[in-house]
């Protein structure tokens, strides 16, 4: 459904735009209907930039982003409007997504005016109520309220309800739970799971690995703008191969194991894996700064083991003579 191929994003920086920051480097992955793909990375990894490019809030410098075969980058006016009927985004701060001086209902009204100008009255109200119901909220408890009267979780779910009023097929959820309290976070995550069951494709952008793991089918691990590892969630979490993924997993504060235990396990894994770069060991004549990935298990891909995108590859083990 959504397919990214070799997407790059270069930002111009500095007073005269002379410097450049290569924020996204050769990223490829896809999102299918009924699938949650988690885009995981630390700050500066380019994960939000990718979400913004998918929503056309930023333009890719090169590469293609296709939605059902149509290049999203080339969409203009009407085409873009139609695209937004199917693809919507929800972002980190629910409070800044609403105008605090208006009731939350206004967010539905603006949508009606731009997409369904002929739908008015009771029929529309009923559709809104249905959408609010489908995100697990009681319309009577949330509609007609001001943003400050609702919790962050309720506001986030209302934004999802708004997107559902359209013919939604792809949802980009960028850190939508990082500002919520633990008690309501899980409700929003469960909602993503429910939407997935209804056939929606979801691109879930997050820095939190335990949350990324809870709902997602596939994960894409980003580091300094490049994909270092991707694959089925269970495979990547159970058997992380890239050193960066392993460090990341060993740093996650867990609730059933202390860091010391996780580190001991990680050391055993490192010893078993050795320090050989899996990518350069398998691809003959690959360029040192190659952005490609090799398949280490079905659907489980790993990139070069270098840390920074411009660093040197830690190398491959010399073949044993004889």
């Amino acid at each position: 459904m959504l397919e990214l191929v070799d997407v790059h994003k270069v930002y111009r920086v500095g007073t005269f735009g002379t410097g450049t920051v290569h924020a996204v480097r050769g990223v490829s992955f896809d999102v299918q209907p009924g699938e949650v793909v988690s885009l995981i990375g630390e700050s500066g990894s380019g994960k939000s930039t990718i979400g913004r490019m998918v929503l056309r809030l930023a333009n890719a410098t090169s590469g293609s982003i296709r939605f059902d075969g149509t290049d999203v980058v080339s969409l203009r006016h009407r085409g873009l409007r139609d695209y937004y009927r199917h693809a919507q985004g929800v972002f980190q701060d629910p409070f800044s997504s609403y105008n605090p001086i208006f009731k939350v209902d206004r967010t539905f009204e603006t949508l009606r005016r731009s997409y369904f100008p002929q739908d008015t009255g009771a029929a529309w109200d009923e559709r809104v109520a249905d959408a609010v119901h489908s995100v697990g909220l009681v319309p009577g408890e949330v509609l007609g309220k001001f943003p400050h009267q609702l919790s962050g979780g309720q506001l986030q779910r209302l934004l999802v309800a708004r997107a559902l009023l359209l013919d939604l097929r792809l949802l980009v959820a960028d850190e939508i739970i990082s500002m919520l309290d633990a008690s309501t976070r899980i409700d929003v995550l469960n909602l993503l799971g429910d939407l997935k069951a209804r056939g929606l494709g979801i691109l879930f952008v997050t820095h939190d690995l335990s949350l990324g793991n809870y709902v997602s089918d596939k994960v894409v691990i980003l580091h300094q703008g490049r994909v270092v590892e991707r694959g089925p969630t269970a495979a990547v979490f159970a058997d992380p191969r890239h050193p960066y993924t392993r460090t990341l997993l060993a740093s996650v504060p867990q609730l059933d194991r202390r860091w010391e235990d996780v580190e001991a396990e990680e050391e055993r894994r490192s010893a078993a894996l050795g320090d050989e770069c899996l990518y350069h060991a398998r691809v003959d004549g690959a360029d040192a700064h190659d952005l490609g990935l090799v398949e280490v298990a079905p659907g489980h891909l790993v990139g070069c083991f270098r840390d920074g995108a411009d660093d040197a590859c830690p190398g491959v083990r010399a073949p044993v003579a004889g």
Binding site: E42, R185, L189, S210, F237, P253
Partner: protein
Amino acid sequence: MSLRVDDLAVHYRTTRGDVQALDGVTFEIADGEIMGVAGESGCGKTTLGKALIRLENRMKHVRGTVTLDGEKLPIADDRAMDPYRYRRISLIPQYAMSAMNPTRKIGRMIRELVTAKGVAYEDVRPELERRLRLVGLDEEVLGRYPIELSGGMKQRVVLVLATLLDPSLLIGDEVTSALDVTSQKAVARALVEFRDREFVRSVVVVTHDISVLYQMADTILVMYAGRLAEKASATTVIDQPLHPYTKMLVGALPKVGERYDDRRLTGIVGRPPSLLDPPGGCRFRDRCPLAMPRCEEQPPFLEVAPGHQVACWAVA
């Protein structure tokens, strides 16, 4: 006994009346203890941290006492508290790392701060450099501007600065929040190391992130709507919590490896009551699955096992 808080109540003055943000909390922190304070936004955890060092203008001390190392603190008297601040009690406020003066190099900023407290920078500089190295920072950061450092580096600078005079108590408000997991771990580790090396005697870590507390804290205090719900060792709070609120809070967190398809976790329905005019009795009872008629009476914070206190009629 390092810190003792007795029936402390602090309200916020607003035009609509007093917000009872902290309503009678009583607890103790032992020497060398790292105590985590957890709870949802608006539960009073930040107010508790602030009340121990400085009451803002709109904060009103209603009742209760704070005793540090056997000495009663004049918390309601802003001027009288001054000699204690930074030297005996130090605070890392929320967003401290973003509050550094962007026009000063780190070294000059620290010089100005310690000079304002009557300490000569040259006297503390060797120790400052030693501690920076201890948290993995080169002394060269002193010659850099805040914008040149990452969030994790800035937070470690703030930690070194806050504990430079070996305070008895350090209060860290959301010190590990808004950091990437690798930096979060480095900051948490540094904090534990500072306690181990006795740069600081005991620590209060205020955060909404219980999993970080499980990794670094000795004990966890769970707050709800301005009151204490439960206090126990970190392991007990996570593995064998008693208070229904703690149970639901911990139960709402997915563990790494736990999947939506296998076991669907649930959040806590409802919202905490308004603290402008909170209902009497247990404040959690509207959201509580164990609520019973007796809950209309406020439950005492009782010790149910050594080092394990709970405020709940149903389980205590």
